[in-house]
């Protein structure tokens, strides 16, 4: 049966408004749960998942749980270990994945991913490897 909020009064309208707003606020930027077993960081609205393996480093990018097209982005990763920096380009690898094959992420180091979107806007995400 449909409700007529105007007949139910201001209190009902306030409750309905609160209920309507709550889910939006709680999930405004999507889930932070890793989808590929990696480390997850959010910058602005963009979620970056970093997966470091023996064959290289991959990142997966999404916004509000929607994958972003990797081919539209350019990205680099910079690893800092013992004061030394090593850098590699991340290349689109299909879907929302960008890869740096052969790049070995050492444990306990800082990795910064710089992601540039088609407009030129750049975001950074910083990961501490385990």
């Amino acid at each position: 049966m449909p409700f007529d909020l105007m007949k139910l009064g201001p209190a009902a309208i306030a409750i309905a408004a609160a209920l309507a707003l709550t889910p939006t606020a709680a999930f405004a930027h999507g889930s932070m749960k890793p989808q590929h077993g990696g480390l997850v960081q959010m910058s602005g609205e963009t979620m970056v998942e970093l997966v470091a393996g023996p064959k290289g480093v991959d990142i997966f990018i999404s916004e509000e749980d929607e994958p972003l097209p990797a081919s539209a982005y350019t990205a680099t990763l910079t690893q800092t270990a013992s004061g030394q920096k090593t850098q590699a380009a991340l290349k689109p690898a299909g879907g929302n994945k960008l890869s740096a094959p052969g790049f070995i992420a050492a444990k306990g180091t800082k990795i910064v991913v710089a992601l540039t979107d088609p407009s030129g806007a750049k975001i950074f995400t910083t990961f501490q490897t385990r």
């Binding site: 606020a25 930027h29 710089a114 910083t126």
Partner: protein
């Protein structure tokens, strides 16, 4: 009074107010726009054309969490200049030389010194500075090269709740400055009754916003060229963001 008349009066009043806003009231600060850190030129809610004023920016410098310099520049992204850096930055600073301005009896401002505008009733040189703390500092905020006027938090542990007091110190040419004007909310309350720094250069303000805070220090100093200006006006912003509750 009918609505259209109210609108007309409001628009006319706003226009007159805008015309009356002294040129030197404008300043620069940094604020987030579409996830990027943007350079803003304006006063209050007036976010004016900063891209066309980019040639007036003398330096933009970025710093990491340890205050080590990070290669940083400004990039015009449509009508907004945004900060572009090679690495994440914890702070960014800029200097704008707004040049010489002379006001004639008819109320007009001219981008020239008194030597070229002999009828000027007022002539000044405007410098504008901005320091933005993109991350909360873990140590004292240093004085940046070229920032003749700079506002610095006395305690690096900036309050994290609006309404709390915050002590800042004004520095002019590297030394504490007494008598500087300190505004606590340049964006949302540009007409506030500001406080003045004491003999030690400090003043205590109330942190106004659980979001962007733009503090503004103002100092009118002696002329750098007496033939051209009566004085030099410095405006220096210190901006930072207090976090909102987790979503």
């Amino acid at each position: 009074m009918k609505l259209p008349r109210i609108l007309a009066v409001t628009v006319a009043g706003s226009a007159l107010l805008a015309m009356a806003t002294p040129l030197s009231a404008h300043a620069i600060w940094f604020a987030q726009r579409a996830t990027q850190i943007a350079l803003v030129y304006g006063v209050g809610a007036d976010d004016l054309d900063a891209v066309k004023r980019l040639p007036l920016i003398k330096t933009v410098t970025g710093y990491g969490a340890d205050w080590a310099p990070v290669t940083t520049s400004l990039r015009a992204a449509g009508p907004i200049p945004v900060v572009d850096s090679e690495e994440p930055i914890a702070a960014v600073a800029a200097i704008m030389d707004y040049g010489l301005w002379s006001k004639t009896p008819d109320g007009k401002w001219h981008n020239k010194g008194r030597d070229e505008v002999p009828t000027a009733t007022l002539a000044e040189h405007n410098w504008k500075y901005a320091v933005h703390l993109a991350k909360m500092p873990t140590g004292p905020v240093p004085l940046f090269e070229g920032h003749k006027l700079q506002i610095v938090p006395v305690d690096p542990a900036i309050p994290q709740k609006m309404g709390e007091p915050m002590k800042v110190r004004a520095y002019y040419e590297g030394k504490p400055l007494a008598g500087a004007t300190i505004m606590s909310d340049y964006v949302n309350d540009p007409d506030e009754v500001a406080v003045k720094t004491g003999a030690d250069g400090t003043a205590t303000i109330t942190v106004r916003n659980q979001g962007l805070n733009v503090l503004m220090g103002i100092y009118v100093g002696p002329a750098d060229d007496k033939a051209k200006v009566d004085h030099v006006e410095y405006r220096s912003s210190l901006s930072f963001v207090l976090p909102h509750l987790p979503e």
